[in-house]
Symmetry: D3
Subunit: 327 residues, 6 copies
Amino acid sequence: MPEVVTFGECMLRLSPPDFQRLEQASQLNITVGGSELNVAAGVARLGLSSAWISRLPENPLGRMVRNKAREMGVDTSHLLWTKDDRLGLYFVEYGASPRASSVLYDRGMSAIANIQPGEVRWRAVFEGCRLFHVSGITPALSDSAAAVTAEAITAAKAAGALVSYDLNYRAKLWSQEKACQIQTPFMNDVDILITTEEDTERVFGITGQDYRQVAKKLADQFKIDVVAITLRGTPSVWRNTWSALAYSNGTFYDDVTYEIEVVDRVGSGDTFSAGFLFGFLTQDIGRGVKVGNAFAALKHSSWGDFNWTTLEETEALIKGAGLRIVR
Amino acid sequence: MPEVVTFGECMLRLSPPDFQRLEQASQLNITVGGSELNVAAGVARLGLSSAWISRLPENPLGRMVRNKAREMGVDTSHLLWTKDDRLGLYFVEYGASPRASSVLYDRGMSAIANIQPGEVRWRAVFEGCRLFHVSGITPALSDSAAAVTAEAITAAKAAGALVSYDLNYRAKLWSQEKACQIQTPFMNDVDILITTEEDTERVFGITGQDYRQVAKKLADQFKIDVVAITLRGTPSVWRNTWSALAYSNGTFYDDVTYEIEVVDRVGSGDTFSAGFLFGFLTQDIGRGVKVGNAFAALKHSSWGDFNWTTLEETEALIKGAGLRIVR
Amino acid sequence: MPEVVTFGECMLRLSPPDFQRLEQASQLNITVGGSELNVAAGVARLGLSSAWISRLPENPLGRMVRNKAREMGVDTSHLLWTKDDRLGLYFVEYGASPRASSVLYDRGMSAIANIQPGEVRWRAVFEGCRLFHVSGITPALSDSAAAVTAEAITAAKAAGALVSYDLNYRAKLWSQEKACQIQTPFMNDVDILITTEEDTERVFGITGQDYRQVAKKLADQFKIDVVAITLRGTPSVWRNTWSALAYSNGTFYDDVTYEIEVVDRVGSGDTFSAGFLFGFLTQDIGRGVKVGNAFAALKHSSWGDFNWTTLEETEALIKGAGLRIVR
Amino acid sequence: MPEVVTFGECMLRLSPPDFQRLEQASQLNITVGGSELNVAAGVARLGLSSAWISRLPENPLGRMVRNKAREMGVDTSHLLWTKDDRLGLYFVEYGASPRASSVLYDRGMSAIANIQPGEVRWRAVFEGCRLFHVSGITPALSDSAAAVTAEAITAAKAAGALVSYDLNYRAKLWSQEKACQIQTPFMNDVDILITTEEDTERVFGITGQDYRQVAKKLADQFKIDVVAITLRGTPSVWRNTWSALAYSNGTFYDDVTYEIEVVDRVGSGDTFSAGFLFGFLTQDIGRGVKVGNAFAALKHSSWGDFNWTTLEETEALIKGAGLRIVR
Amino acid sequence: MPEVVTFGECMLRLSPPDFQRLEQASQLNITVGGSELNVAAGVARLGLSSAWISRLPENPLGRMVRNKAREMGVDTSHLLWTKDDRLGLYFVEYGASPRASSVLYDRGMSAIANIQPGEVRWRAVFEGCRLFHVSGITPALSDSAAAVTAEAITAAKAAGALVSYDLNYRAKLWSQEKACQIQTPFMNDVDILITTEEDTERVFGITGQDYRQVAKKLADQFKIDVVAITLRGTPSVWRNTWSALAYSNGTFYDDVTYEIEVVDRVGSGDTFSAGFLFGFLTQDIGRGVKVGNAFAALKHSSWGDFNWTTLEETEALIKGAGLRIVR
Amino acid sequence: MPEVVTFGECMLRLSPPDFQRLEQASQLNITVGGSELNVAAGVARLGLSSAWISRLPENPLGRMVRNKAREMGVDTSHLLWTKDDRLGLYFVEYGASPRASSVLYDRGMSAIANIQPGEVRWRAVFEGCRLFHVSGITPALSDSAAAVTAEAITAAKAAGALVSYDLNYRAKLWSQEKACQIQTPFMNDVDILITTEEDTERVFGITGQDYRQVAKKLADQFKIDVVAITLRGTPSVWRNTWSALAYSNGTFYDDVTYEIEVVDRVGSGDTFSAGFLFGFLTQDIGRGVKVGNAFAALKHSSWGDFNWTTLEETEALIKGAGLRIVR
């Protein structure tokens, strides 16, 4: 059975080519993407087995999501299917300074939002599982999705799995108040919290002198073993910087800051989670930070939510691969 | 003010290239389409002024629909806008025998479905209007959309405009019973009914020995001035035949049957309505049948819901244009 | 463990768009394809579990093949990987009468051609397997591939699995003499032979008054339980006809002839095998012929080697689905 | 009637994808563009009504220009049509340092170049008009186009409209001497002059210590109410800087300098004019500079001559929107 | 030196994909094409050396034409270049019944139309030349182009070359009267006349009971050694039939009629000329008809003016190649 | 006969669009490329005649290579053809920091690798030739290719041609030891050596304080008239710097360093060789460095191995062309 299990939404992802605005587009490139599937795909890409739990409509779009999860090596045998609901979708417009990239969501009434407690056979899902990962998007989808998230966390702990949680606040889905109220209880069961300085403030109102202090405050306040924070700098839309650090039991784990030429940044946070969890599960926290940081940096360089980078390429970057052509 | 006004939904239309199935697609061609906008666009293309009434979300997709209506020369000044709802969309898969083409709808919770009586200023809309056209899709969208349809028909009559109605039954939107119950009262105000033999049977249970008898029965039963029926033959997916006839006051108006090589058949019925209404309003019923028939036949030869054929090309076909290259 | 196991080559498949000739192309559409993977993919698409055995190079092209096998739901856990060899590839040029479509192979020195006896752990592979399928392409790839084919057939029988064999003669890979010499011994272990009249004559020199007689002769001569034959008519490049029949123990099972509008015929024979095996394993020979025939007919209507048709669509065609648009 | 009227040429615009050179291209992306239509489109995009006057051939290319003007919300009811002439066209090659982008014109013998005085019904056009805008390209097209430009300016003043003029010198269309001789008389009627330091020197021989002095000199010499100057820096082909200032009655109005990542810079000057005129007409000069500057900066980030930016996005940039993804 | 020399215009050729109408296109596929270059390219493709004479603008479009002529193996060393004029262009819209394909020309003021007598060094061009080919399009371009055509024919005869002439009447370029007046004198020097029944009537007013009689009348009236006539049937836009015959000294040479699935018919007549001249020059008239007929039939199956068919494929068709896939 | 002759491999070149990784691609852009053909193409582009010698398979891919060589104006009349072998190919993945671009080769068993001494008629090839150019890739392909390289160098010298050699070390093709052993004897006959600091160290173990010293050491050690070295800086994947210098008889020739925005860097070294040889052969070493440096800098700005830059553009850059748009 899969070592890592994730739970959440995956949407059809549509984007105009060549920096076109949606209004002027006559073609859209399509793939699929969603935070927790991105994590499961990344973990599988690096070499651990993973499964993704969701609820999909029985139509070509739902099947496309399942197919692409399988393509990445993710176990889809526990997916729920429905004849009634729709697949959510989102449109990405790629920007150029001074216009930021943007995302237009059309995710209402999706199959996953209508998921109900009791539908997923969590006990079977978690058999042999080492770690369960979910992000704050899932409980934000609907009250029933929040209930199933709680159900999953409980079942994971019961099965002896670690719980990893990415705060991932989405203002369009719920208020800061509700986000805080729903997620605070989850923190009791969370072993690994992955977040950004900004989300931490918005959801829990926790701020600090710097992100190190924030990480420590989170760990202390919620008694979380590991807190990881990703750090993005945006000197321009096409040039970003990227780094990450983790805090655990009084120790900070940080890493180099990568200079990024941005092809597609959507999904890179999830890719950090995947890399971090892989490194953490196969070695330790320091390795998690290094693999997550490099894996996420490399994600920015190609199109789509998923990270097609190999472990070998990730390790080469960690060791300091150059920018000259590889033949 | 526009001579022809239509009212209904327009969706984003997405289709994979090269006969791909949706599940295997990595790009989608996009445009917009919807029965009543198709009619307004066709009427404007042929040379009468037209306006289209709908309700759209204030986002890039809603604006795209408005833009493309304007591109075709359709007046969009009476559109309603909302910050809340979504734009419906539909996916077209092009077939090849023995696989028929198919359409996957994702139109729930659309802005137009949430339209409410009293929102459209019908009196202003119908100032100077000669004809109002709507299809059976609009009242099928929701109860409130049905109420607004009734409101529109009443206002059109009050303004002295003719009412044209395309039965356009969509089984996914409502039952035959409900379609019959809602639309039967409309028939009192309808001057021109456009339909197919199949839809007539499904909605009103009216059948006959042949389509001529059906047209006559409809006209007699509902006291409708003009009944027009379109006739498609499907020897294969890529080869169709197309014809049309009208009945009015004891007279049948028919026309040649065209041999069609099918590029894209979605929207061709609406194009017939446009051509028929244009011919009827600028000349008479016989001209309506001829223009509608030729205009619709030509629609099949290019991509998208809209008909980019010119009046000059339509007239050339009516006069018997050949199939050799035109230089 | 998978119910159906197949063994063979899969290549990168490159084709110019829009009926271009290769020499004039500036873009190629790519996917992957290969007879036995096509069968495993089709079987999984219809609903049985399947696995595919092959040998792939550890590079992006090898991974792409694995990914796309997984995308179709095929188990790839028993694939062999090598750092040394290449992935074969082939180019498809789509024709229009009077120019036939054509395939240009570049498959020399591929990883699968260098497979060696003993490399595949056949015992583990066949655990729980109901049926093993291979085609005449695999032993044609190299002497060692032929030896592994023999090894596989023996292991399958030992594991209690049925053996299905598609003759699939490729003149560019070996002579008729060698094809006969190598494959004749296989026939002792074959339970289901799938072929065409033409291949039967070329490989075994067996001819008959008609394809029925040929099927019977094959069954009698080699003591094969089931012989299935596919029948293609080619009135033009874009219009084909397609049918199939099977013979077993004195009974002929035949089916309707489908009129086909050809989008892409490469892989349709494999798709018949998949449909036949699915129908046979889930019901009986008659069902196998019907499912295989309809599934293969539908394959022609979309691009690529794989068949994206659903079981539901296949059953609709068997029941006589029409050619009008499906909404 | 439209608040803003512009007059000039619009061409078919063809550009190879992916930084290809024209000689190697096998596909071209197409749209339309021309200085004065770009301005009318931008003004309409921001929210004022606008009309565009030109002369087009009655063929698909002429209709495409009209359609796309309508798509942007521009009134096209006063266009002139001819069966005789052609539509001009131009090819854009996108550069990368050290190769600048370049434009190849093929605009000879166009319908607009053959426009004759008396053909446009200026009195009807200017009914209710607040401002007329034209650039130095229009009189450069031909002697008759220059005469019609003069005619238009006179009619605009007579109708009580302001006159806005963009110097827009094109060396391929006329000499500096002729540009000076023809345009100097226009300056008597110009209320708003939009230009660059470079064009001012080339056409009027006016130079100064800096662009502020140049603006003042222009205003003083020609007694022009408002002079606006755009300022582009080109550290590289993909990175530009952009700013603007205006001078009026002793006051300078300047604004921030934007860092630009260049997707397509063709048409950005026109977009500044549109933004400036919008801000000026709806508020004052200072607002004009701010809106024009931000609207033009944003134009660089997407493909084509037209600016698909919304007023909302423009205002967000003025207020200091960041470069992080918008969800 | 080249065995075959041709003289005429080549234009940029732009066509929308997927049966789109020009007005709706956002991309155009491009290549080049022109009757006499098509012939030179076809002759070179089949295996004789050829050169093409024309006049081109010194810009990327002119160079593209030269490049693509070279790509096909055509000698371009005698081309004339100018800094002043433009390259003609034409747009192709692909049709589907009942809409015929169509061509929109934009060829005015081209470099070739401005060619002047004395500019081409015909004596050098014709050194070692066996045959000169030109079509009726070249003298139709302008009076000076007609004068250069006359000059070329005279020089060819003086150099001992045969003269081949394709009547190729273009109604948009000149009247039937002028076509007759200018071309009648050319007929004195023509050895091979290639035409259609329709063009013969329009230019020379020659009709007959059938095309055989027409061929004979042409040969008799103008004392032409060989008259070849191509025969196209158009049952539909996508299905044509194609055949050809020749008459010489009392003998008729005819051939099979091919069933054609039409991908792109533009340029197929020129391809017949190429095949005919190749067969005639390498063997005899009968071979010319067979090669021309098959080569032209195969041209219809791929995109663009040029024929990418090989001699080997042409001979296979003559021998009766089937329509099944070639592996 | 051509002034410059080159000898080597050309492969089919396939690259995914839009920074996609190969594994996720569904389309590939294709063209051809190979070091020595790139040089011949560049030389011809700038204005000297050139020929390229290679061995190609008689199939569409082999013909495509020949066609594209011809398209660039390269003489292909001495190519060898074979029915047996394949065309090598390579895949380019475009990177973005921190992911470098990379190349995946699939060049085994190619036609050129199987070339044998005695097959090329070198005496005829070198008639009238001024310079022969080859790179270290050719002898690395196989032992027989190395033998033919030696044969070619000897024949070139015998014919009085200069010999130019680009070290071009490819670690995947041979070891440093073998590269040194095979190429050291060649150096006796080399007049112009083009290389990089890195390759010099890898092949000959020559290092120095800086590249100037390296150039001098190479010239001194091997008694080579001219040594040219190219210098690339890689601050990021999208931003490079580029310069070059030459050393000859005690004099250093250097040039400006260009700031490069990288569209496609593959082939730019070959383009330097072409520019250097052109400048050297038409003027002198200093001119060679300047033309080579500018021509190569400009190559980076467009797609593909070939350089579509004109001599006029190259000279404009040398004179200091700006980065503003050229109209």
